[in-house]
């Protein structure tokens, strides 16, 4: 008894101190690891930026990280040349048109349809919605050949509207799915009160659903914008002359080493805008991601 009584306080002290030490010690390697991995993850993007400041001669001689020991290697001439290059500035504009159009249109169309699927009664509603879900994972390769022929016939080849419509259609299943699921969570009482007051469906949609659905719409907008800004395959198929920036860079890839003074800064400019959007609206981006994948 006596030894136990003497020991006990000791034990208590140890239990208090040991976990704390263990926690600090246990955290140190994890912290180190995370710092290293986090920095490693940033290295490739930094590498592109620094490469974009090199002359092709320097690129073919030494790596971008050597600017740290010799900062005089860097030059903004590549960027000056890039923004003097009408083909590149035009393609950036084209990309912007496509991305904005392919963001606004599908959101408008999907919001209407999402409301109908969530709150309007009509025969076959669930079956039609199952059809939309089925279209969610359809590879766009399934549409390239028929739409190529269709655009040739209709003269829509090489037009911004042709690209926007294609992006809109393939963005719709996800957009409808996301918005319908969000709209259905809006309290029923709100809608019924509005209906009893005699509001038309259009009025309810514009005055009630759209404002309440804004978080979901914001997520969707960011998604569509990034997805269409970053597209290569659709533009590569339907736009040979009206090139967005990805296609413009692609056409330079054949001579990677000698065109690097164009490829690197153009690539960096092409990722700068999505990155800005990402950092400004990261919260909505993550929300949309979670709403779309975890259900």
């Amino acid at each position: 008894m006596a030894t136990a009584a003497v020991r006990r306080p000791n034990v208590v002290v140890r239990e208090g101190a040991a976990p704390r030490i263990l926690r600090v010690l246990g955290k140190a390697p994890v912290t180190m690891l995370l710092v290293v991995v986090g920095l490693l993850w940033l290295v490739p993007t930094l590498g592109l930026f620094l490469t974009s400041l090199l002359t092709p001669a320097d690129f073919n001689e030494r790596g971008w990280w050597q600017v740290f020991s010799k900062p005089s290697m860097t030059t903004f001439d590549n960027y000056r040349a890039l923004f003097d290059n009408a083909a590149i500035t035009d393609s950036l504009l084209t990309t912007a048109y496509i991305a904005v159009g392919s963001t606004v249109l599908p959101i408008m169309v999907a919001a209407l349809a999402g409301y109908a699927f969530a709150w309007l009664e009509f025969p076959g509603r669930d079956w039609l919605f199952i059809g939309v879900i089925a279209l969610l994972v359809v590879p766009l390769q399934m549409a390239l050949i028929p739409i190529f022929s269709l655009y040739n016939t209709l003269g829509m080849f090489d037009t911004v509207i042709g690209l926007v419509l294609f992006h809109t259609a393939f963005g719709l299943p996800f957009a409808i799915f996301l918005l319908r699921n969000f709209f259905i969570g809006i309290p029923k009482e709100l809608l019924e009160a509005a209906r009893i007051d005699g509001a038309s469906e259009i009025r309810i949609f514009v005055r009630l659903i759209l404002p309440l659905g804004l978080p979901a719409i914001a997520s969707l907008a960011i998604f569509q914008f990034l997805w269409t800004w970053n597209d290569l395959i659709v533009a590569l198929t339907f736009a040979r002359e009206t090139q967005p920036i990805t296609v413009a860079i692609f056409s330079q890839l054949r001579q990677f080493g000698s065109n690097i003074e164009l490829i690197a800064p153009a690539s960096f400019v092409s990722i700068a805008i999505p990155l800005a959007v990402f950092f400004a609206f990261q919260r909505y981006f993550v929300q949309g991601l979670l709403a779309g994948s975890v259900k």
Binding site: L120, V137, L144, P146
Partner: protein, 441 residues
């Protein structure tokens, strides 16, 4: 809850304006239905039909396109590569995402880490490919990936002082790979000149000074390793003015079996000395490590490693997605469950293995399936990482479909068959999605 209005089924206005309601519904749905009909449903039907016709589209050839899909070398390579993608990437991305999510969970500055890892999600896969093509350059002086490997490799196995050189006299024989050996045996008290030529000016080791022929040493062996060449030539085998010593060169004494019994390195003036040399037949040699080539780098963009190289770029982009989704799932696990297990004496590993992972299973499967679909459709990143010359080796189904249809071959029949094949591969996921929805309703 009981205070809810009893008439749940029909809105009050439904009876009075059924006709108008029908048109309203149609107005809401029509734009979406038209777009989906023209740009998705009609193309699906068309592409399936087109896949049974030949290149011209006039002749019905049934399954010939599908037969070619599984017999032509290029397409079989594409299918094999895609199988590798499916086998490796979804599991790896999910695992990395899980590890990152668990590690960041209890770190206070995790937002910074998550932002760094998640950031590539905003970048196009095409630009990500350009970024990694710069990283993947073979020369360790130019490609960051190989530069990283070179640091490790040179620490373990340092490169030699000279990458190549030839003996200046016929007395010295052998090759750079095995080391250069003096033809005649040496004995104590001898001075051994080991002259080298054929060293490119830019590869002359730094720090070398005027070579010196050392004095003889009683009971030992001395000598000099020097660049036996000066502007204008000079006399081979003789140390002359303007000829530089080669520092840091490994000199060995070898027994008759060729085994090194002693070794030393040279001074800035090229001299070396062995004190107290044992008796017996010994030969002086310049060790092979002197000529060890510097690390040349892994050929990431060559035909054999191109697919792993592209996968690295792809994982770099998608790991953040997996991490963020899994971290959200992790945050939803009740703290009490984990704490209860810890209180009961479970180790962190047991908690992770027995509680965290099973509770996360639905989230992990969502991430895995999402990645599975993404990987089946992989396209842009292949085009931008792989140089044109290795695109056949890096080929995947989606790229093969595009190249067959629009990349010069222009065979819409075969291209359609490849697209249908891709479609068939995602059908299980399509069914899964529908099942999940029907369970909810």
């Amino acid at each position: 809850m009981t205070a809810e209005p009893p008439a749940t089924g029909a809105p009050p206005t439904a009876g009075s304006s059924r006709g108008r309601g029908y048109w309203t519904t149609l107005a809401f749905l029509a734009p979406a239905l038209i777009l989906l009909g023209v740009w998705m449903v009609y193309p699906i039907v068309y592409t399936i039909g087109r896949s049974f016709f030949d290149r011209s589209g006039d002749r019905l050839i049934w399954f010939d396109n599908y037969e070619e899909l599984f017999t032509s070398d290029i397409l079989v390579t594409a299918i094999k590569n895609n199988a590798l993608w499916v086998a490796v990437v979804p599991a790896l991305v999910t695992a990395i995402g899980l590890i990152f999510a668990v590690l960041t969970e209890r770190v206070s500055w995790s937002v910074a880490f998550k932002t760094a890892v998640f950031m590539p999600m905003a970048i196009s896969l095409f630009a990500a490919g350009v970024i990694w093509r710069i990283m993947d350059q073979q020369d360790p002086d130019r490609g960051a990936l190989n530069a990283g490997i070179a640091i490790v490799k040179d620490a373990v196995d340092p490169p030699g002082q000279l990458s190549d050189a030839f003996p200046s006299t016929e007395g010295l024989t052998g090759t750079a790979q095995q080391g250069l050996v003096l033809r005649t045996p040496v004995r104590a008290g001898q001075v051994v000149p080991l002259g080298l030529t054929g060293i490119p000016p830019e590869e002359v080791p730094e720090g070398g000074v005027q070579a010196v022929r050392p004095e003889a040493l009683a009971g030992g062996i001395t000598g000099v390793v020097w660049r036996d060449f000066k502007p204008g030539g000079g006399v081979p085998g003789r140390v002359e003015a303007q000829e530089l010593g080669l520092p840091g060169v490994t000199v060995e004494l070898r027994d008759p079996g060729g085994r090194a019994v002693d070794s030393t390195t040279t001074e800035p003036d090229g001299t070396f000395r062995f004190e107290e040399v044992a008796d017996g037949e010994l030969r002086a040699a310049i060790g092979a490590q002197t000529f060890a080539k510097p690390y040349g780098g892994v050929s990431w963009l060559g035909p054999s490693l191109i697919t792993p190289a592209i996968m690295i770029a792809y994982i770099w982009v998608w790991a953040g997605f997996a991490m963020v989704v899994i971290a959200a799932g992790l945050a939803a696990i009740p703290r009490d469950t984990l704490e209860a297990a810890r209180t009961d004496g479970a180790t962190e590993w047991q908690v992770f293995r027995r509680i965290t992972v099973p509770l996360l299973a639905p989230v992990l499967s969502v991430v895995f399936i999402t990645m599975l679909i993404n990987v089946l459709k992989v396209f842009d990143v292949v085009l931008s990482v792989a140089p044109g010359s290795v695109q056949d080796d890096a080929n995947v189904i989606a790229l093969a479909m595009w190249r067959t249809s629009f990349g010069g071959v222009d065979d819409f029949g075969l291209g359609s068959a490849i697209a249908v094949f891709l479609f068939l591969l995602v059908i299980p996921v399509l069914v899964l999605n529908i099942r999940r929805f029907r369970r909810e309703v």
